[in-house]
């Protein structure tokens, strides 16, 4: 009997297990709030939150847009800047020695601390939030891309120099494809990270977006709206993670990590 049920469990597709554990969590949450009579302003029940999600969908969608825009633009900008700098690092050791400590220093400053300073310079518009998101995505991509571009074997570089390949060809044909797995593992962190960066900078610097909505509804004691906004933000981060995974599977089908047979 036990053997039978464990086999059934194993044969379930992966997503159904995730759904099941979520369902269990929601049921327990619902039971806890109703049985222990937790007041909704402390922890609203899933039923209340889902009602809020439906009722307040207009405001949630409206506030989702700036967050989405900031996260996407910042992600693109941060990754592009980091990839370009990484290519420069690989070409010039001097550039790396001069600029990497600076990048590390920039990384060490908490976003909450640096956001007000950046707001002073860039104002309370999109420039600040996009810059912050860019900053969040920048460092992991910089480090991983540099490592990835250097992961090329000496033999492969020799092959291209025997063929008198130009530096551009070496990057295009060899180094950038070799770096892609490294770049993707950075993006799996910075994808959801860019949503977090957008939320925090909205929280600190602006009056729009899901980050602002969380802060604003908290100050009005609309706790169920806080939770609804958190759920929308989480879904956005999960989607970012999923999109990175999807792109990775499409682009890196050749890579060992994508092939069970090795």
């Amino acid at each position: 009997m036990r053997k039978m049920s464990s086999r059934t469990w194993r044969n379930l597709p992966g997503w159904s297990k995730v759904m099941l554990s979520f369902a269990i969590l929601i049921v327990l949450w619902q039971l806890a709030t109703s049985l222990l009579q937790i007041p909704p302003y402390l922890l609203p029940s899933p039923a209340i939150i889902s009602r809020t999600l439906v009722d307040q969908r207009a405001i949630l969608l409206k506030q989702l847009q700036p967050t989405l825009l900031e996260a996407a633009c910042g992600f693109l900008l941060g990754n592009t800047a980091a990839a370009l700098l990484a290519m420069w690092f690989v070409k010039s050791a001097t550039a790396e020695r001069a600029l990497l400590p600076l990048a590390i220093a920039l990384r060490s400053i908490p976003i909450v601390a640096i956001t007000p300073v950046i707001t002073l310079v860039l104002g309370r518009g999109y420039a600040t939030t996009i810059f912050i998101v860019g900053l969040v995505t920048f460092f992991p991509t910089l480090v991983n891309t540099t490592k990835g571009l250097r992961s090329v074997s000496k033999d492969a570089e020799e092959l291209l120099s025997v063929l008198a390949a130009t530096e551009g060809q070496a990057f295009r044909l060899l180094k950038i494809p070799s770096a892609l797995p490294y770049i993707f593992s950075a993006m799996r962190v910075t994808g959801p990270g860019s949503v977090l960066g957008a939320l925090v900078s909205e929280w600190v610097a602006t009056d729009r977006g899901l980050g602002f909505l969380i802060l604003d509804s908290q100050s009005r004691w609309q706790i169920s709206l806080v939770w609804a906004a958190i759920i929308v933000a989480t879904l956005l981060a999960v989607t970012a993670f999923g999109l990175v995974g999807l792109a990775e599977r499409r682009l890196l089908s050749w890579h060992e990590s994508m092939n069970g047979e090795g």
Partner: protein
């Protein structure tokens, strides 16, 4: 006969903390047109460095290297070298045909005619039907065949082989040596091979250059006058055995424990 490769008193030393390390000392030899010459010697005797100086990847400290009468860098820019190393370095994101076409792409000569030529080379090396396969789907020997096809796709005048079958098992290696000779005989290229296998050197070459260790120095140059095409049966002849003995004697001459 014109010379494909010519080395005149070539020396290569590397600066070390404890002084200068002489990797290659006064190497003088030549490879004729369409000749197959092998450098044989113990690990670390500088034979790979010699090969890299011929390819223009390493600059000699002293002396002169000429390839087809020109400096190696010039020949490299004209893409006259085909290079096969121990690691086949096939790009995993390209299929086999894509890997063989890589030199064409670098040279800006990728078109219908050259791609068909690349396909022809794949059948020459025995990889017909594997055009669309990924490198990871191929065995070590097949990967090396693809690397040979890639080395030949630009019709090089000089084929440089740096222990190309060093990572393969003995049986596959023997087969690949035969294949290499068959493929090479259909090209116009002179070949310079680096190996530490005495039998391999004797079997493949027109001439074997024996190198010694520390500093890397040429000890002997032995003509192998076995007829071509070479066959497996030759491996059992007295002549072949005599040649391997000659090479062995040259390798160990003056070394500790050698019979004088």
């Amino acid at each position: 006969m014109a010379l494909a490769i010519e080395l005149q008193e070539v020396q290569k030393s590397f600066p070390l903390e404890s002084g200068t390390f002489v990797a290659v000392q006064e190497a003088t030899f030549a490879v004729g047109e369409k000749e197959f010459v092998t450098l044989v010697g113990p690990s670390g005797c500088g034979k790979s460095t010699v090969l890299r100086m011929v390819a223009g990847l390493v600059e000699p400290t002293r002396g002169e290297v000429r390839v087809l009468g020109e400096p190696p860098a010039y020949c490299r820019s004209k893409r006259l070298f085909g290079f096969v190393a121990q690691d086949p370095v096939l790009l995993p994101w390209r299929n086999i045909l894509g890997n063989v076409c890589l030199p064409l792409e670098v040279a800006g000569r990728l078109d219908k005619i050259t791609v068909n030529k690349a396909k022809g080379l794949l059948s020459l090396v025995g990889l017909e039907g594997f055009e669309g396969a990924r490198p990871r789907q191929l065995s070590g020997g097949m990967k090396q065949r693809a690397a040979i096809a890639r080395a030949l796709v630009l019709e090089p005048s000089i084929l440089l082989l740096d222990e190309p079958f060093g990572a393969l098992d003995e049986i596959t290696r023997q087969k690949m040596n035969l294949e290499l000779l068959r493929i090479w005989s259909q090209t116009e290229a002179a070949a310079l091979l680096v190996t530490h296998s005495i039998a391999e050197a004797a079997f493949l070459s027109d001439r074997v250059i024996v190198m010694s260790n520390r500093p890397g120095r040429i000890k002997a140059s032995i003509e192998i006058e076995l007829p071509r095409p070479r066959t497996v049966d030759m491996l059992r002849t007295k002549e072949f055995f005599d040649y391997t003995n000659l090479i062995t004697d040259a390798l160990f001459r003056g070394e500790e424990g050698a019979v004088q």
